[in-house]
């Protein structure tokens, strides 16, 4: 007498489905654990390194013992506003771009800082059948974060913060800082929607030895679909080595997406200011499943010319070359086709906070080549919200 089979075909299919679900769940948990381990690996060595007494060796005078007065200065809230008006002619089509970016800094005690930045900007264009320029006002909270300076080596940040992937988004993005009015083609890579993350971050910088400093950032961002504070779910970090004597910084960024295709993103950056020349060289590269590319930018201040010194020392020549390659995963945030672009610009600084900038660029892509002209002015204003003098 034949025994009935223990498992029917339906049972096998059912268990296979359960196993697949379990393995997928396990895979997700494993990836999260990997991300957590990576963050720990990034943070722990830097902290341990920083705690080493020898790491604080310095040829400079010990500041803590000689600058007690700097600790006695009680900070006050500050409002900083940068404004710009950039006109762009992209492929012959004129765009007017007013932008206003207030930054509010509120120090709390000796260790806390609340900082937030909002952007109000518009892209005004000519519309058929209408006179003048038309567009909508775009409002965005770029960051609203609470910083806790835990110790000289680490600051803990929670809230919405600029994603520290590469250098452009965090350091060079403000309209009064950037040398060219246009964004690099690779900017959307690694920074998430609206260039910001929502979650927590630890970061800091410390002197590793007498020759170089180390700076680091490790972060975790949660998914948010609430506009205008949307963000993606990912974890990542950035580490940089800065050699003060050579004025050279090199570093790398890593990010692991915890959603969509769960891909990894990589980036490298470089900043170099040769001591012998008033020259800035910056470069960044980024690689992801949605696209890859690089940009290299140099800016030279004409402060050493032997004639018309007053005018030329305020003048800066800028050049930038960049290439972008599409990835395997389509995305709305990056360009849809391979694109090359070079730009030349001239900036004139009336003061350190007020300047005029202009540039010409040529963009090459399969969709058609185009000239991109920009001209504009930028201004920055700092308003102390209280009595700024030491009592």
């Amino acid at each position: 007498m034949a025994l009935p089979p223990l498992l029917t075909k339906d049972d096998v299919g059912y268990f296979r489905a359960i196993l697949l679900a379990l393995s997928a769940r396990k895979s997700r948990v494993t990836r999260t654990l990997y991300a957590a381990a990576l963050l720990a690996l990034l943070v722990l060595p830097t902290l341990l390194f920083a705690q080493c007494p020898d790491s604080q060796a310095s040829s400079a005078p010990p500041p803590e013992s000689q600058t007690p007065d700097s600790q006695d200065i009680k900070p006050i809230p500050v409002l900083q506003t940068s404004a710009g008006f950039i006109s762009t002619f992209d492929g012959g089509e004129p765009h007017l771009g007013p932008i206003l970016t207030p930054v509010l800094l509120v120090p709390i005690g000796q260790r806390w800082l609340f900082e937030t930045r909002a952007t109000f900007e518009s892209d005004l264009t000519q519309e058929p059948g209408l006179s003048g320029f038309h567009g909508t006002l775009q409002k965005e909270v770029e960051y609203a974060q609470l910083d806790f300076i835990a110790n000289p080596y680490m600051t803990v940040t929670v809230g919405r913060f600029l994603t520290p992937f590469g250098i452009y988004n965090e350091r060079l993005y403000p309209v009064w800082i950037r040398n060219l009015a246009t964004d690099p083609l690779t900017l959307p890579i690694g920074v998430g929607p609206s260039n910001a993350s929502t979650g927590a971050m630890v970061r800091g910088g410390f002197r590793a030895n007498s020759k170089f400093n180390i700076n680091y950032a490790a972060y975790y961002s949660v998914l948010s679909t609430v506009s205008p504070v949307d963000s993606s779910r990912f974890a990542g970090g950035r580490v940089g080595i800065f050699v003060p004597k050579a004025r050279l910084e090199i570093g790398g960024s890593f990010q692991h997406l915890l959603q969509d295709d769960h891909s990894n993103l990589f980036g490298f950056h470089l900043i170099w200011q040769p001591r012998a020349l008033p020259l800035d060289i910056r470069a960044e590269t980024a690689r992801s499943s949605t696209g890859s590319g690089y940009w290299v930018e140099s800016a030279y201040r004409l402060s050493r010319l032997p004639f018309a010194r007053n005018e030329f020392r305020r003048t800066q020549l800028v050049a930038r070359m960049q290439q972008f390659y599409t990835g395997t995963v389509p995305s709305d945030s990056v360009l849809p086709v391979n694109t090359n672009m070079f730009e030349f610009g001239v900036n004139y600084y009336f003061r350190d906070d007020f300047r005029a900038l202009t540039s010409y660029g040529r963009q090459f892509s399969p969709e058609g080549n185009a000239n991109v002209w920009t001209v504009g002015i930028t201004y920055r204003l700092v308003v102390p919200l209280g009595n700024g003098e030491v009592q």
């Binding site: 700097s70 200011q273 012998a276 032997p306 070079f342």
Partner: protein
């Protein structure tokens, strides 16, 4: 004009600009920064000398040496602060004008977080910017 020609022209312009700039700099080497005491330093040192010389006749050379050491230390701190300021802050933007001390303390704390300055750099820069 073809794309290759434009890129070749851009490349040539970049190369020739670099060569011209380097040649120009070799002809006119930069002065060593902070190699000589500034007029302000000399005034501070002179003030220290005056203070010690006009004090009581019993002021001995040790006191005079202490004052001078303090002046030199002050100068060293200022020079170091300026150096740290240009090295760190100048990586991204021009040197801003000085703001009131309490506002400057806030801005430096903000930049400590943003630019990941070391604790030592922050203190020296704050001191330099609030003098």
């Amino acid at each position: 004009m073809s794309r290759t020609a434009v890129l070749a022209t851009a490349f040539m312009v970049l190369i020739s600009s670099t060569v011209i700039v380097i040649a120009q700099e070799r002809k006119d080497p930069p002065r060593a920064a902070n190699s000589q005491p500034s007029a302000q330093d000399q005034q501070v040192a002179a003030a220290a000398d005056t203070a010690t010389s006009t004090s009581a006749p019993s002021t001995d050379s040790a006191t005079r040496r202490d004052v001078r050491t303090a002046v030199l230390s002050e100068r060293a701190m200022r020079v170091e602060g300026e150096k740290r300021f240009q090295t760190n802050c100048g990586r991204c933007h021009l040197a801003p004008q000085k703001f009131p001390p309490r506002a400057m303390a806030t801005i430096v704390r903000h930049m400590r977080v943003r630019a990941m300055l070391t604790d030592e750099d922050m203190r020296l820069i704050l001191r330099y910017m609030t003098e």
